[in-house]
Protein backbone atom coordinates (compact mmCIF):
# COMPACT_ATOMS: atom_id res chain seq x y z
CA UNK A 1 0.00 0.00 0.00
CA UNK A 2 0.94 3.64 -0.27
CA UNK A 3 2.21 5.05 2.98
CA UNK A 4 1.93 8.67 3.87
CA UNK A 5 2.55 10.43 7.11
CA UNK A 6 1.21 13.66 8.43
CA UNK A 7 3.22 16.76 7.73
CA UNK A 8 4.72 18.66 10.62
CA UNK A 9 2.10 20.86 12.22
CA UNK A 10 4.07 24.04 11.63
CA UNK A 11 3.94 23.41 7.90
CA UNK A 12 0.20 22.80 8.11
CA UNK A 13 -0.31 26.01 10.08
CA UNK A 14 1.69 27.86 7.45
CA UNK A 15 -0.44 26.45 4.63
CA UNK A 16 -3.67 27.29 6.40
CA UNK A 17 -2.71 30.81 7.40
CA UNK A 18 -5.65 33.12 6.87
CA UNK A 19 -8.21 30.35 6.27
CA UNK A 20 -11.47 30.74 8.14
CA UNK A 21 -13.16 27.55 7.13
CA UNK A 22 -11.24 24.38 6.48
CA UNK A 23 -12.22 20.84 5.61
CA UNK A 24 -9.87 18.07 6.63
CA UNK A 25 -10.56 15.28 4.19
CA UNK A 26 -9.53 11.70 4.89
CA UNK A 27 -9.21 8.96 2.33
CA UNK A 28 -10.54 5.44 2.85
CA UNK A 29 -7.79 3.82 0.84
CA UNK A 30 -4.18 3.12 1.66
CA UNK A 31 -3.78 5.90 4.19
CA UNK A 32 -6.64 4.54 6.25
CA UNK A 33 -4.95 1.19 6.29
CA UNK A 34 -1.67 2.71 7.44
CA UNK A 35 -3.59 4.57 10.14
CA UNK A 36 -2.53 8.03 9.10
CA UNK A 37 -5.16 9.43 6.75
CA UNK A 38 -8.52 7.80 7.46
CA UNK A 39 -11.66 9.34 8.86
CA UNK A 40 -10.39 9.00 12.40
CA UNK A 41 -7.18 10.84 11.59
CA UNK A 42 -9.17 13.53 9.77
CA UNK A 43 -11.34 13.84 12.87
CA UNK A 44 -8.31 14.15 15.11
CA UNK A 45 -6.50 16.61 12.88
CA UNK A 46 -9.63 18.75 12.68
CA UNK A 47 -9.86 18.57 16.43
CA UNK A 48 -6.24 19.60 16.77
CA UNK A 49 -6.70 22.53 14.40
CA UNK A 50 -9.84 23.68 16.18
CA UNK A 51 -8.05 23.52 19.52
CA UNK A 52 -5.09 25.42 18.13
CA UNK A 53 -7.30 28.10 16.58
CA UNK A 54 -9.21 28.52 19.80
CA UNK A 55 -6.00 28.81 21.77
CA UNK A 56 -4.72 31.48 19.42
CA UNK A 57 -8.03 33.27 19.44
CA UNK A 58 -8.46 32.75 15.71
CA UNK A 59 -11.84 32.30 14.17
CA UNK A 60 -11.25 29.15 12.20
CA UNK A 61 -13.82 26.45 11.74
CA UNK A 62 -12.42 23.05 10.85
CA UNK A 63 -14.71 20.23 9.72
CA UNK A 64 -13.75 16.75 8.70
CA UNK A 65 -15.01 14.20 6.25
CA UNK A 66 -13.66 11.16 4.49
CA UNK A 67 -14.40 9.49 1.19
CA UNK A 68 -13.67 6.04 -0.11
CA UNK A 69 -10.75 7.09 -2.32
CA UNK A 70 -9.58 10.52 -3.32
CA UNK A 71 -7.97 9.25 -6.50
CA UNK A 72 -11.36 8.48 -8.11
CA UNK A 73 -13.65 11.27 -9.23
CA UNK A 74 -16.93 9.47 -8.52
CA UNK A 75 -16.20 9.28 -4.82
CA UNK A 76 -16.09 13.06 -4.54
CA UNK A 77 -19.87 12.92 -5.00
CA UNK A 78 -20.09 11.42 -1.54
CA UNK A 79 -18.69 14.50 0.16
CA UNK A 80 -21.10 15.79 2.78
CA UNK A 81 -20.32 19.42 2.01
CA UNK A 82 -19.24 21.13 -1.20
CA UNK A 83 -15.48 21.75 -1.15
CA UNK A 84 -16.12 25.18 -2.60
CA UNK A 85 -17.72 26.17 0.70
CA UNK A 86 -14.31 26.01 2.32
CA UNK A 87 -11.37 28.34 2.14
CA UNK A 88 -9.20 25.28 1.87
CA UNK A 89 -9.44 21.53 1.84
CA UNK A 90 -6.62 19.92 3.76
CA UNK A 91 -6.42 16.50 2.19
CA UNK A 92 -4.77 13.75 4.14
CA UNK A 93 -4.76 11.33 1.24
CA UNK A 94 -1.52 10.42 -0.48
CA UNK A 95 -0.13 12.84 -2.99
CA UNK A 96 -2.15 11.22 -5.75
CA UNK A 97 -5.36 12.00 -3.89
CA UNK A 98 -4.35 15.56 -3.14
CA UNK A 99 -3.26 16.24 -6.70
CA UNK A 100 -6.26 14.59 -8.26
CA UNK A 101 -8.71 16.34 -6.01
CA UNK A 102 -7.02 19.62 -6.73
CA UNK A 103 -7.49 18.97 -10.44
CA UNK A 104 -11.16 18.03 -9.96
CA UNK A 105 -11.93 21.22 -8.04
CA UNK A 106 -10.00 23.93 -9.87
CA UNK A 107 -11.49 26.73 -7.77
CA UNK A 108 -10.79 25.04 -4.47
CA UNK A 109 -7.51 25.32 -2.61
CA UNK A 110 -6.59 21.73 -1.92
CA UNK A 111 -3.63 21.44 0.42
CA UNK A 112 -1.52 18.41 1.29
CA UNK A 113 -1.68 17.39 4.93
CA UNK A 114 0.60 14.48 4.33
CA UNK A 115 3.98 13.55 3.00
CA UNK A 116 3.67 10.50 0.81
CA UNK A 117 6.61 8.29 1.53
CA UNK A 118 6.67 4.73 0.31
CA UNK A 119 5.01 1.54 -0.86
CA UNK A 120 4.86 -0.75 2.08
CA UNK A 121 3.75 -3.91 3.69
CA UNK A 122 2.43 -3.83 7.23
CA UNK A 123 5.11 -5.95 8.86
CA UNK A 124 3.81 -5.54 12.41
CA UNK A 125 1.20 -3.51 14.26
CA UNK A 126 2.16 0.09 13.66
CA UNK A 127 5.05 -0.65 11.29
CA UNK A 128 4.90 -0.22 7.52
CA UNK A 129 8.09 -1.12 5.73
CA UNK A 130 9.04 -0.30 2.18
CA UNK A 131 8.86 -3.24 -0.23
CA UNK A 132 8.62 -1.56 -3.60
CA UNK A 133 9.79 1.66 -5.11
CA UNK A 134 7.69 1.59 -8.25
CA UNK A 135 10.76 1.54 -10.49
CA UNK A 136 8.76 0.19 -13.38
CA UNK A 137 11.11 -2.68 -14.10
CA UNK A 138 10.53 -5.39 -11.56
CA UNK A 139 13.50 -7.63 -11.02
CA UNK A 140 12.20 -9.71 -8.12
CA UNK A 141 12.37 -12.79 -10.32
CA UNK A 142 16.16 -12.61 -10.27
CA UNK A 143 16.60 -11.56 -6.69
CA UNK A 144 14.77 -14.21 -4.74
CA UNK A 145 11.74 -12.02 -4.27
CA UNK A 146 13.69 -9.38 -2.34
CA UNK A 147 13.73 -6.04 -4.10
CA UNK A 148 17.22 -4.58 -4.45
CA UNK A 149 15.77 -1.21 -5.40
CA UNK A 150 13.64 -0.94 -2.28
CA UNK A 151 15.65 -2.98 0.18
CA UNK A 152 19.22 -1.90 -0.70
CA UNK A 153 19.78 1.65 0.46
CA UNK A 154 21.90 2.23 -2.62
CA UNK A 155 19.51 0.36 -4.93
CA UNK A 156 22.44 -1.63 -6.28
CA UNK A 157 21.66 -4.36 -8.75
CA UNK A 158 24.84 -6.42 -8.76
CA UNK A 159 25.35 -7.46 -5.16
CA UNK A 160 26.42 -6.31 -1.75
CA UNK A 161 28.57 -3.27 -1.32
CA UNK A 162 31.29 -2.92 1.29
CA UNK A 163 28.84 -1.34 3.67
CA UNK A 164 27.23 -4.58 4.73
CA UNK A 165 28.03 -5.69 8.24
CA UNK A 166 26.60 -8.57 10.21
CA UNK A 167 23.58 -8.58 7.96
CA UNK A 168 22.89 -4.90 8.45
CA UNK A 169 23.28 -1.85 6.27
CA UNK A 170 25.82 0.89 6.89
CA UNK A 171 23.08 3.47 6.58
CA UNK A 172 21.21 2.25 9.63
CA UNK A 173 22.22 -0.57 11.93
CA UNK A 174 18.54 -1.39 12.37
CA UNK A 175 18.12 -2.01 8.68
CA UNK A 176 18.87 -5.34 7.06
CA UNK A 177 21.32 -5.42 4.18
CA UNK A 178 19.05 -5.96 1.20
CA UNK A 179 21.68 -7.75 -0.77
CA UNK A 180 22.51 -10.10 2.03
CA UNK A 181 18.80 -10.91 2.20
CA UNK A 182 18.85 -11.57 -1.53
CA UNK A 183 21.94 -13.73 -1.16
CA UNK A 184 20.42 -15.78 1.67
CA UNK A 185 17.17 -16.19 -0.20
CA UNK A 186 18.83 -17.24 -3.44
CA UNK A 187 21.02 -19.66 -1.53
CA UNK A 188 17.91 -21.09 0.09
CA UNK A 189 16.28 -21.41 -3.32
CA UNK A 190 19.47 -22.88 -4.76
CA UNK A 191 19.52 -20.11 -7.32
CA UNK A 192 22.77 -18.37 -6.51
CA UNK A 193 23.52 -18.20 -10.22
CA UNK A 194 21.09 -15.32 -10.34
CA UNK A 195 23.44 -13.48 -8.01
CA UNK A 196 26.43 -14.31 -10.17
CA UNK A 197 24.81 -13.01 -13.34
CA UNK A 198 25.66 -9.49 -14.31
CA UNK A 199 22.52 -7.39 -14.33
CA UNK A 200 21.99 -5.05 -17.27
CA UNK A 201 22.18 -1.35 -16.63
CA UNK A 202 18.95 0.01 -15.26
CA UNK A 203 16.70 1.87 -17.68
CA UNK A 204 15.54 4.84 -15.67
CA UNK A 205 12.91 5.73 -18.22
CA UNK A 206 10.58 3.21 -16.56
CA UNK A 207 11.25 4.88 -13.25
CA UNK A 208 11.03 8.62 -13.37
CA UNK A 209 13.34 9.43 -16.23
CA UNK A 210 10.66 9.75 -18.87
CA UNK A 211 8.17 12.15 -17.41
CA UNK A 212 4.69 11.40 -16.18
CA UNK A 213 3.90 7.74 -16.09
CA UNK A 214 0.44 6.50 -16.87
CA UNK A 215 -1.17 3.16 -17.30
CA UNK A 216 -3.45 2.99 -20.31
CA UNK A 217 -5.56 -0.09 -20.75
CA UNK A 218 -6.79 0.21 -24.29
CA UNK A 219 -9.50 -2.37 -23.71
CA UNK A 220 -11.01 -0.16 -21.05
CA UNK A 221 -10.52 3.33 -22.45
CA UNK A 222 -13.44 5.10 -24.02
CA UNK A 223 -11.61 5.76 -27.26
CA UNK A 224 -12.79 3.68 -30.18
CA UNK A 225 -10.76 0.66 -31.12
CA UNK A 226 -8.13 1.36 -33.75
CA UNK A 227 -7.90 5.06 -32.87
CA UNK A 228 -4.28 4.77 -31.93
Amino acid sequence: MIVAERKPMDEIFQMLAGCKKVLVLGCGGCVTVCLTGGERQAEMLASQLNLAAKAKGEAMQVDFDSITRQCEKEFFDNLSEAPADYDAVLSIACGAGVGYMSEQFPKVTVLPGMNTTHLAANVALGIWEEYCRGCGDCMLAWTGGVCPIAKCSKSLVNGTCGGTDKGKCEVNPEMNCGWLMIYERLKELDRLDEYRTMRPLRDHRTDRGNGVRRLVLAEMTEEEAGDE
Binding site: L156, V157, G159, T160, G162, D165, L180
Partner: protein, 304 residues
Protein backbone atom coordinates in the same frame (compact mmCIF):
# COMPACT_ATOMS: atom_id res chain seq x y z
CA UNK B 1 43.24 -5.76 -26.39
CA UNK B 2 46.96 -5.71 -26.16
CA UNK B 3 48.66 -7.14 -23.14
CA UNK B 4 51.06 -4.25 -22.93
CA UNK B 5 50.82 -2.65 -19.50
CA UNK B 6 49.13 0.73 -19.64
CA UNK B 7 50.65 1.89 -16.35
CA UNK B 8 53.63 1.36 -14.10
CA UNK B 9 51.37 -0.25 -11.53
CA UNK B 10 50.25 -2.78 -14.09
CA UNK B 11 53.80 -3.37 -15.18
CA UNK B 12 54.98 -3.85 -11.59
CA UNK B 13 52.17 -6.29 -10.84
CA UNK B 14 52.80 -8.14 -14.10
CA UNK B 15 56.46 -8.49 -13.11
CA UNK B 16 55.45 -10.56 -10.10
CA UNK B 17 57.20 -8.38 -7.57
CA UNK B 18 55.42 -7.46 -4.30
CA UNK B 19 53.81 -4.15 -5.02
CA UNK B 20 53.11 -1.40 -2.54
CA UNK B 21 50.62 1.41 -3.09
CA UNK B 22 49.69 4.29 -0.84
CA UNK B 23 46.81 6.70 -0.60
CA UNK B 24 46.16 10.42 -0.29
CA UNK B 25 42.95 12.40 0.02
CA UNK B 26 42.33 15.90 -1.31
CA UNK B 27 41.40 18.39 1.40
CA UNK B 28 38.10 20.11 2.06
CA UNK B 29 39.12 23.39 0.46
CA UNK B 30 41.57 24.46 -2.18
CA UNK B 31 44.77 24.06 -0.20
CA UNK B 32 45.94 20.88 -1.89
CA UNK B 33 49.66 21.77 -2.22
CA UNK B 34 50.80 20.30 1.15
CA UNK B 35 49.22 16.98 0.30
CA UNK B 36 51.09 16.83 -2.97
CA UNK B 37 54.33 17.93 -1.33
CA UNK B 38 54.08 15.18 1.26
CA UNK B 39 53.48 12.64 -1.46
CA UNK B 40 56.55 13.87 -3.26
CA UNK B 41 58.62 13.69 -0.11
CA UNK B 42 57.53 10.35 1.33
CA UNK B 43 55.87 8.35 -1.42
CA UNK B 44 57.59 9.20 -4.64
CA UNK B 45 59.92 6.35 -5.58
CA UNK B 46 58.80 4.31 -2.54
CA UNK B 47 55.56 2.98 -3.89
CA UNK B 48 54.31 1.88 -7.30
CA UNK B 49 51.29 4.15 -7.27
CA UNK B 50 49.28 6.41 -5.01
CA UNK B 51 45.49 6.25 -4.78
CA UNK B 52 43.49 9.45 -4.58
CA UNK B 53 40.25 9.02 -2.68
CA UNK B 54 36.94 10.17 -4.17
CA UNK B 55 34.95 12.21 -1.65
CA UNK B 56 35.85 9.61 0.94
CA UNK B 57 33.13 8.66 3.46
CA UNK B 58 30.84 11.05 1.59
CA UNK B 59 32.47 14.05 3.21
CA UNK B 60 32.67 16.78 0.56
CA UNK B 61 36.22 17.67 -0.54
CA UNK B 62 38.34 18.26 -3.63
CA UNK B 63 37.88 15.75 -6.39
CA UNK B 64 40.00 12.67 -6.86
CA UNK B 65 40.53 13.83 -10.40
CA UNK B 66 42.39 16.95 -9.35
CA UNK B 67 44.51 15.03 -6.84
CA UNK B 68 45.38 12.41 -9.42
CA UNK B 69 46.24 15.06 -12.01
CA UNK B 70 48.54 16.92 -9.61
CA UNK B 71 50.28 13.66 -8.59
CA UNK B 72 50.75 12.81 -12.26
CA UNK B 73 52.24 16.24 -12.85
CA UNK B 74 54.56 15.68 -9.92
CA UNK B 75 55.81 12.47 -11.43
CA UNK B 76 53.91 10.17 -9.09
CA UNK B 77 51.65 7.56 -10.68
CA UNK B 78 48.11 8.02 -9.41
CA UNK B 79 45.27 5.54 -8.96
CA UNK B 80 42.08 7.48 -9.56
CA UNK B 81 39.34 6.27 -7.22
CA UNK B 82 35.84 6.62 -8.64
CA UNK B 83 32.68 6.08 -6.67
CA UNK B 84 29.27 5.68 -8.29
CA UNK B 85 27.46 7.54 -5.51
CA UNK B 86 27.68 11.05 -6.87
CA UNK B 87 27.54 10.93 -10.63
CA UNK B 88 25.29 9.26 -13.16
CA UNK B 89 26.58 7.31 -16.14
CA UNK B 90 27.00 10.45 -18.25
CA UNK B 91 29.23 12.16 -15.71
CA UNK B 92 31.19 9.03 -14.88
CA UNK B 93 32.01 8.26 -18.52
CA UNK B 94 32.86 11.88 -19.13
CA UNK B 95 35.25 11.87 -16.17
CA UNK B 96 36.83 8.64 -17.38
CA UNK B 97 37.58 10.32 -20.70
CA UNK B 98 38.99 13.31 -18.84
CA UNK B 99 41.18 11.04 -16.71
CA UNK B 100 42.65 9.41 -19.76
CA UNK B 101 43.26 12.79 -21.37
CA UNK B 102 45.11 13.83 -18.19
CA UNK B 103 47.33 10.76 -18.48
CA UNK B 104 45.69 8.89 -15.65
CA UNK B 105 45.49 5.16 -16.34
CA UNK B 106 44.85 3.43 -13.03
CA UNK B 107 41.20 3.64 -11.94
CA UNK B 108 39.79 1.99 -8.83
CA UNK B 109 36.02 1.49 -9.08
CA UNK B 110 34.01 1.73 -5.88
CA UNK B 111 30.35 1.99 -4.99
CA UNK B 112 31.08 4.58 -2.32
CA UNK B 113 29.80 5.11 1.20
CA UNK B 114 26.19 6.19 1.36
CA UNK B 115 25.58 9.95 1.44
CA UNK B 116 23.95 9.66 4.83
CA UNK B 117 27.35 8.62 6.24
CA UNK B 118 28.89 11.91 5.30
CA UNK B 119 28.44 15.61 5.86
CA UNK B 120 25.73 16.18 3.27
CA UNK B 121 23.21 13.53 4.29
CA UNK B 122 20.42 15.35 2.44
CA UNK B 123 22.19 14.89 -0.89
CA UNK B 124 20.73 12.71 -3.64
CA UNK B 125 22.44 9.31 -3.68
CA UNK B 126 22.90 8.54 -7.37
CA UNK B 127 24.19 4.98 -7.82
CA UNK B 128 23.09 5.01 -11.45
CA UNK B 129 25.95 2.56 -11.96
CA UNK B 130 27.52 0.31 -9.40
CA UNK B 131 31.15 -0.81 -9.17
CA UNK B 132 30.46 -3.71 -11.52
CA UNK B 133 28.73 -1.69 -14.20
CA UNK B 134 31.37 1.05 -13.90
CA UNK B 135 34.06 -1.54 -14.71
CA UNK B 136 31.91 -2.71 -17.58
CA UNK B 137 31.52 0.88 -18.78
CA UNK B 138 35.33 1.28 -18.76
CA UNK B 139 35.70 -1.83 -20.91
CA UNK B 140 33.17 -0.41 -23.35
CA UNK B 141 35.07 2.90 -23.54
CA UNK B 142 38.29 0.97 -24.13
CA UNK B 143 36.48 -0.82 -26.93
CA UNK B 144 35.65 2.52 -28.50
CA UNK B 145 32.00 2.93 -27.56
CA UNK B 146 30.05 4.33 -24.65
CA UNK B 147 27.04 3.00 -22.76
CA UNK B 148 24.61 4.73 -25.05
CA UNK B 149 23.25 3.77 -28.44
CA UNK B 150 21.63 5.46 -31.38
CA UNK B 151 18.03 5.03 -32.50
CA UNK B 152 18.89 1.76 -34.21
CA UNK B 153 20.52 0.39 -31.12
CA UNK B 154 24.04 0.80 -32.43
CA UNK B 155 26.52 1.80 -29.74
CA UNK B 156 27.91 5.33 -29.93
CA UNK B 157 31.49 5.44 -31.16
CA UNK B 158 34.22 7.45 -29.49
CA UNK B 159 36.59 9.82 -31.20
CA UNK B 160 39.76 8.74 -29.46
CA UNK B 161 39.72 5.65 -27.28
CA UNK B 162 41.00 5.52 -23.71
CA UNK B 163 42.91 2.72 -22.01
CA UNK B 164 42.85 1.96 -18.30
CA UNK B 165 44.26 -0.33 -15.67
CA UNK B 166 41.05 -1.13 -13.88
CA UNK B 167 40.84 -1.95 -10.21
CA UNK B 168 38.23 -2.83 -7.66
CA UNK B 169 37.85 -3.43 -3.96
CA UNK B 170 36.79 -6.34 -1.79
CA UNK B 171 36.27 -6.86 1.94
CA UNK B 172 38.18 -10.04 2.86
CA UNK B 173 37.19 -10.02 6.53
CA UNK B 174 33.44 -9.47 6.03
CA UNK B 175 31.42 -11.67 8.38
CA UNK B 176 29.60 -13.05 5.34
CA UNK B 177 32.40 -13.45 2.85
CA UNK B 178 30.69 -15.61 0.23
CA UNK B 179 28.58 -12.85 -1.26
CA UNK B 180 31.75 -10.71 -1.32
CA UNK B 181 33.53 -13.40 -3.27
CA UNK B 182 30.71 -13.67 -5.78
CA UNK B 183 30.68 -9.92 -6.19
CA UNK B 184 34.44 -9.99 -6.73
CA UNK B 185 33.97 -12.62 -9.41
CA UNK B 186 31.46 -10.36 -11.08
CA UNK B 187 33.85 -7.41 -10.93
CA UNK B 188 36.63 -9.44 -12.50
CA UNK B 189 34.24 -10.71 -15.14
CA UNK B 190 33.32 -7.08 -15.76
CA UNK B 191 36.96 -6.23 -16.35
CA UNK B 192 38.73 -5.67 -13.03
CA UNK B 193 42.50 -6.21 -13.40
CA UNK B 194 43.63 -5.62 -9.84
CA UNK B 195 42.13 -5.60 -6.36
CA UNK B 196 42.89 -3.38 -3.40
CA UNK B 197 41.19 -4.75 -0.32
CA UNK B 198 39.46 -3.20 2.63
CA UNK B 199 41.65 -3.07 5.75
CA UNK B 200 42.87 -6.43 7.03
CA UNK B 201 44.17 -7.05 10.56
CA UNK B 202 43.64 -10.78 10.70
CA UNK B 203 46.17 -12.61 8.53
CA UNK B 204 44.51 -15.95 9.21
CA UNK B 205 41.17 -14.73 7.96
CA UNK B 206 42.89 -13.18 4.97
CA UNK B 207 44.57 -16.46 4.23
CA UNK B 208 41.24 -18.23 4.20
CA UNK B 209 39.85 -15.55 1.96
CA UNK B 210 42.73 -15.84 -0.44
CA UNK B 211 42.13 -19.57 -0.71
CA UNK B 212 38.52 -18.86 -1.59
CA UNK B 213 39.59 -16.54 -4.39
CA UNK B 214 42.43 -18.69 -5.72
CA UNK B 215 40.49 -19.11 -8.95
CA UNK B 216 40.41 -15.37 -9.51
CA UNK B 217 43.50 -14.62 -11.51
CA UNK B 218 44.02 -10.95 -10.76
CA UNK B 219 46.59 -9.46 -8.40
CA UNK B 220 45.35 -8.63 -4.95
CA UNK B 221 46.88 -5.92 -2.78
CA UNK B 222 46.05 -6.37 0.87
CA UNK B 223 44.70 -3.24 2.48
CA UNK B 224 46.43 -1.92 5.58
CA UNK B 225 44.94 0.98 7.47
CA UNK B 226 47.28 2.55 9.97
CA UNK B 227 45.95 2.60 13.48
CA UNK B 228 46.77 5.89 15.11
CA UNK B 229 45.30 5.15 18.54
CA UNK B 230 43.58 2.32 20.39
CA UNK B 231 40.41 4.40 20.25
CA UNK B 232 40.55 4.44 16.48
CA UNK B 233 40.95 0.68 16.45
CA UNK B 234 37.89 0.29 18.62
CA UNK B 235 35.98 2.69 16.41
CA UNK B 236 36.85 0.62 13.36
CA UNK B 237 35.56 -2.50 15.05
CA UNK B 238 32.37 -0.73 15.86
CA UNK B 239 31.78 1.42 12.84
CA UNK B 240 33.60 0.09 9.80
CA UNK B 241 31.85 -2.86 8.16
CA UNK B 242 34.00 -5.89 7.55
CA UNK B 243 36.97 -4.71 9.56
CA UNK B 244 38.04 -6.53 12.68
CA UNK B 245 40.99 -5.33 14.75
CA UNK B 246 42.00 -8.17 17.08
CA UNK B 247 42.23 -7.45 20.79
CA UNK B 248 45.97 -8.15 20.82
CA UNK B 249 46.59 -5.27 18.43
CA UNK B 250 44.34 -2.96 20.40
CA UNK B 251 46.23 -3.97 23.54
CA UNK B 252 49.55 -3.08 21.94
CA UNK B 253 48.21 0.34 21.06
CA UNK B 254 46.79 0.77 24.56
CA UNK B 255 49.95 -0.33 26.29
CA UNK B 256 52.40 1.95 24.48
CA UNK B 257 53.32 5.46 25.62
CA UNK B 258 51.93 8.30 23.58
CA UNK B 259 55.26 9.29 21.98
CA UNK B 260 55.75 5.66 20.91
CA UNK B 261 52.41 5.25 19.26
CA UNK B 262 53.61 6.09 15.78
CA UNK B 263 56.46 3.68 16.13
CA UNK B 264 54.21 0.87 17.37
CA UNK B 265 51.72 1.58 14.65
CA UNK B 266 54.42 1.35 12.03
CA UNK B 267 55.59 -1.91 13.58
CA UNK B 268 52.09 -3.34 13.48
CA UNK B 269 51.62 -2.37 9.83
CA UNK B 270 55.01 -3.74 8.99
CA UNK B 271 54.30 -7.04 10.70
CA UNK B 272 50.94 -7.34 8.99
CA UNK B 273 52.47 -6.78 5.56
CA UNK B 274 55.31 -9.07 6.33
CA UNK B 275 52.95 -11.83 7.49
CA UNK B 276 50.68 -11.55 4.48
CA UNK B 277 53.14 -10.74 1.70
CA UNK B 278 53.40 -14.33 0.60
CA UNK B 279 49.66 -14.69 0.40
CA UNK B 280 49.09 -11.89 -2.09
CA UNK B 281 50.64 -9.67 -4.69
CA UNK B 282 51.00 -6.42 -2.87
CA UNK B 283 49.94 -4.13 -0.10
CA UNK B 284 47.90 -0.98 -0.19
CA UNK B 285 48.89 1.28 2.69
CA UNK B 286 46.21 3.66 3.89
CA UNK B 287 47.98 5.96 6.32
CA UNK B 288 45.19 8.50 6.69
CA UNK B 289 47.46 11.50 6.26
CA UNK B 290 50.57 9.98 7.88
CA UNK B 291 52.34 9.62 4.56
CA UNK B 292 55.63 10.08 6.36
CA UNK B 293 55.19 6.65 7.93
CA UNK B 294 55.10 4.81 4.63
CA UNK B 295 58.86 4.40 4.29
CA UNK B 296 58.99 3.08 7.85
CA UNK B 297 56.28 0.53 7.18
CA UNK B 298 58.01 -0.65 4.04
CA UNK B 299 61.15 -1.05 6.02
CA UNK B 300 59.41 -2.80 8.92
CA UNK B 301 57.81 -5.17 6.45
CA UNK B 302 61.24 -6.10 5.18
CA UNK B 303 60.47 -4.86 1.69
CA UNK B 304 63.09 -2.13 1.49
Amino acid sequence: MSNEPVSNLQRDLDSGEFVVTAEIGPPKGTNIAPVIHEAEEFLKGKVSAVNVTDIQTAVMRGSSMVGAKLLFDAGIEPVLQMVTRDRNRLALQSDLLAAHIFGIRNVLCLTGDHVTMGDHPQAMPVYDLDSVSLLDAMCKLEAGTDLGADMKGKANELDGVPTFFKGCCVTPCADEVDPQVIKLEKKVEAGAQFVQTQAVYEPKVFETFMKKVEHIKVPILVGIVMLKTAGMAKYMNRGVPGVVVPDAIIQRMTDCEKPDREKVSIEICGELVSTMKDMCQGAHLMTLGWDHCVPGIIQAAGLA
